[in-house]
Amino acid sequence: MSDLTRMTATEIAALVAGGEISAVEVTRAHLDRIAAVDDRVHAFLHVDTEGALAAAGAVDERRAAGEELGPLAGVPVAVKDVLATRGVPTTVGSKILEGWRPPYDATIVQRLRDAGTVMLGKTNMDEFAMGSSTEYSAYGPTHNPWDLSRIPGGSGGGSAAALAAYEAPLAIGSDTGGSIRQPGAVTGTVGAKPTYGGTSRYGLVAFSSSLDTPGPCARNVLDAALLHQVIGGHDPRDSTSIPQPVPDVVAAAKLGATGDLTGVRLGIVSEFVGEGAEPGVMTAFRESVDALTKMGAEIVEISCPTFAYALPAYYLIAPSECSSNLARFDGVRFGLRVGDDGNRSLEEVMSLTRETGFGPEVKRRIMIGTYALSSGYYDAYYGQAQKVRTLITRDFTAAFEQVDALISPTTPSVAFPIGARTADPYQMYLADLYTIPTNLYGGPGISVPCGLSEGLPVGLQVMAPTMADDRMYRVAAALESAVGTFTPPAL
């Protein structure tokens, strides 16, 4: 048997379903790989060896009993530590939740279990998903398998690095401003942000409620679509969840893989192909555009002038919501409690707990958000940002009257060295320049590998109208069929 960790999810599922390999063997192979490389990559915060083997064993028993298995049964999945997992530590990359074992499963985690996938463990992330490099994890950074001295993107760097390091064939991420797509781009993997409301947020520890979107990560487009299909769809526990079936993303990925884009109109966002991006990124992007054209796509440039205001609007809306969402971390009911020595007042204990438990980026955003929502400043900041959000949505709507989907580089640069941007928050924020507009609009976006720049992966982003997630899978799969997948050097 060839190396199980190099297989796609689709291949693994077929072998398990056909009884050619057991889910336990697959799981052991990935647990062995994690044991071999994760001290260097640090993609995982917690490896649930027992839980994974038990889940895999259950799949094998069901197969032996002749039960029909789901399309991803027996396939290992790495889950970003932002999702609540019953009885399994959930830290959100923060000291303030160290040791917390949720009494419940997030809806997505429940769906993964129901589908017979095998959760290997929880992946590293920037604390509370605030960051673009995973350097803001309270448990130390994750290293990019392409170059261990570089960042794997963020906030979901753990999930992306786990894929690139062959520690898992599938992973779950969450995307508030690019946290699935940008790590996908810099690790040479596929990351999809579904339509807001297309995947349930129940059990996703909130950063910014109106933007947070959990989604699939994989090493190829079809695997991502299969995972999307399993986790997506209406959830009555999330009132912002859309009561409609998931668009047929699997069929769209298969259609795209035929390499035919005849009749598909694509718009290049003018504002994102200017001077902001690195030359190497632009070269890979231009070559991909040529490939898309060759497959029959009609390509035009479209100006979305309000996208220039997306970053500032995002950095008011997301911190405002986070300042409120993170108020519950006070040491009273769960997680860290500091200074409860019988002499300090309740307020002092709450303050000390938060001062000790939160890291610098989280504190920065709580302060920005608290200020932006304050009486007397609300209209000028939060209110104004919401207006910008409406304008950005109008730009998207207008663009989608002309084209089926928009394309751009996923992020302006390739993976930067660890430590290069932590001293300058604004430089860090620029990593999400091209991904943030989609979050403000609520539509879907996907990053697919499109080439290399100086040996490091570059991603191309496809953005589609809300609830047209299938379109982006078609385009991404077509590009993948043209440029292939990218394999990092051996670890």
Binding site: A206, R237, S239, L373
Partner: protein, 499 residues
């Protein structure tokens, strides 16, 4: 501080009060506002909780449709406009009884606005304008242990029970009520009583002040005639109708004494004390808390279908005021008589007694007479006296059937109030039934005639009035259980005299 307070009459002669009321009503929905936990009162601490009402990381609220229906019905009953589209908002502040350290409430987009409630005070109708009615979630309950006051200051431990957290709470806010003068305390009380009756009639809450399912904050200010309204205080912990009236009165007296002494009123929260009838200062509102309200991003907007709202409006039950008017007419009572029924808290009791088959006059006689007297003596509400409308109807039925005379009926009623059983049971166990067996009575009459030949002769000779003595004798031998009128007729019949 001042030790003597001015007299109430003097205060209202010099100052004009403005009051305002914020009332919180816990809805009687089966489940909480944003999760499926039960809402029953009581229960072991922290047993009626789940990830949502505990605010665990990752949990999300989903609005309870039954609660939204209930608040729309309240809004309609209070003559409010119902918003076509509105949102929940987050009210951010740190407190351990708030699981998320924000409360899901409504801010600038309440679901019901601009209504009114007419209340009767001293025979006059006062229209109380309603500013808004909105929906929010209740907080948990904090118990501070080890301090002298039971408050957070000085406590060594704080225990939190989240069973109440997330119970749907409706807040009803009046506009400022000015111009009521001397009646201000009574207007406040009458408003809360009327509001309670309206909500009870809608069946959306049990509105029990003692259990906290109806809670009231009272705003009070005083100003000199013709001048701007004064600084207001907000009095909390007002837990009964009587306390509403006392709290307004007490705060008016306190503010007058401060103003009389040349002082100024501090805008603050005050706590009412049931035992002393005083208020004491709570936290100062000089530096207003910034709640950083913003639209709740975890919930979709509420957009009630106008057709549904119209259906709810058409299906509203008869409201208390209309209901009372109809009863007054049916019972043929003057305004004054109806007022005494209202004052006695006897409307529903009389109504139920009439429904059980008694005439309105008889039902009113028992509830306003004997039973009101007993309630006053024991210091309990008439509704809690221990006699039910069914029992009163049964008692009157026995009287109408000639089985009890008036005096015996009152004795039986005492027994009912004392919990001895139903009127029929008490009549039997105490041997109080009217002797209506004419055979037995005839024997007793004949014995009386035989024992008093002189009196019998007088009657025979036409002195019918002398029959009274023989009636008395018969009543004595039957231990008062004969009907005097029947006995008299029987005596005359046996003596061959026309009555």
């Amino acid at each position: 501080m001042t030790t003597t307070l001015p007299a109430y009459d003097e205060v209202v002669a010099r100052y004009e009060p403005v009051i305002g009321l914020e009332t919180h009503v816990e809805l009687g929905t089966n489940t909480k506002m944003f999760c499926g936990c039960p809402t029953d009162f009581g229960g072991e601490p922290n047993t009626r909780v789940c990830p949502v009402c505990l605010g665990l990381p990752g949990s999300l609220p989903v609005a309870n449709k039954a609660a939204i229906e209930a608040i729309i019905r309240i809004g309609l009953a209070l003559n409010c406009s119902i918003a076509r589209w509105c949102r929940f908002a987050r009210k951010n502040y740190f407190y351990p009884d708030m699981p998320k350290n924000f409360q899901i409430s409504q801010y600038d987009e309440p679901i019901c606005v601009d209504g009114y409630l007419d209340v009767e005070v001293g025979g006059e109708t006062v229209r109380i304008e309603i500013e808004r009615v909105h929906l929010e979630e209740d907080t948990g309950k904090t118990l501070h242990v080890g301090g002298a006051t039971g408050r957070i200051h000085g406590a060594t431990e704080s225990l939190v029970d989240y069973n109440r957290a997330g119970i749907p709470l409706v807040e009803i806010v009046t506009k400022p009520i000015a111009g009521t003068g001397v009646l201000a305390p009574d207007v406040a009380k009458a408003y809360v009583a009327e509001l309670r009756d309206v909500i009870r009639t809608l069946g959306v809450s049990d509105v029990r002040m003692e259990e906290g399912s109806l809670r009231c904050d009272v705003n009070t200010s005083l100003n000199l005639p013709g001048q701007e309204w004064g600084t207001r205080t907000e009095t909390k912990n007002v837990n009964s109708l009587r306390s509403v009236e006392r709290a307004v009165r007490s705060e008016m007296l306190r503010q007058a004494s401060v103003l009389d002494a040349g002082g100024r009123i501090t805008q603050e929260t005050r706590h009412f004390h049931e035992d002393t009838g005083d208020t004491t200062p709570g936290r100062s509102k000089e530096t207003a808390t910034d709640y950083r309200y913003f639209p709740e991003p975890d919930l979709v907007p509420i957009a009630p279908d106008p057709a549904w709202v119209a259906e709810l409006k058409a299906a509203l039950p008869e409201l208390p005021r209309v209901h009372r008017r109809r009863l007054q007419e049916q019972w043929g009572l003057s305004d004054l008589d109806m007022q005494s029924v209202l004052n006695a808290g006897a409307v529903e009791l009389i109504e139920a007694t009439v429904a059980a088959g008694t005439t309105p006059a008889a039902a009113r006689k028992w509830w306003l007479g004997e039973l009101s007297r007993r309630a006053n003596e024991s210091g309990v509400e008439l509704a809690d006296i221990g006699a039910t409308p069914a029992q009163v109807a049964e008692l009157q039925g026995l009287v109408d059937a000639g089985k009890l005379n008036d005096k015996m009926a009152r004795t039986v009623l005492e027994g009912v109030v004392d919990g001895e059983g139903s009127p029929t049971q008490i009549m039997t166990s105490r041997g109080l039934e009217v002797v209506s067996d004419t055979g037995a009575l005839t024997v007793a009459v004949d014995e009386a005639i035989a024992a008093n030949p002189g009196i019998a002769d007088k009657i025979r000779s036409g002195k019918v009035a002398a029959a009274g003595a023989l009636v008395g004798a018969v009543m004595k031998t039957t231990r008062g259980q004969a009907d005097a009128k029947t006995v008299r007729e029987l005596i005359l019949e046996r003596l061959g005299v026309q009555g």
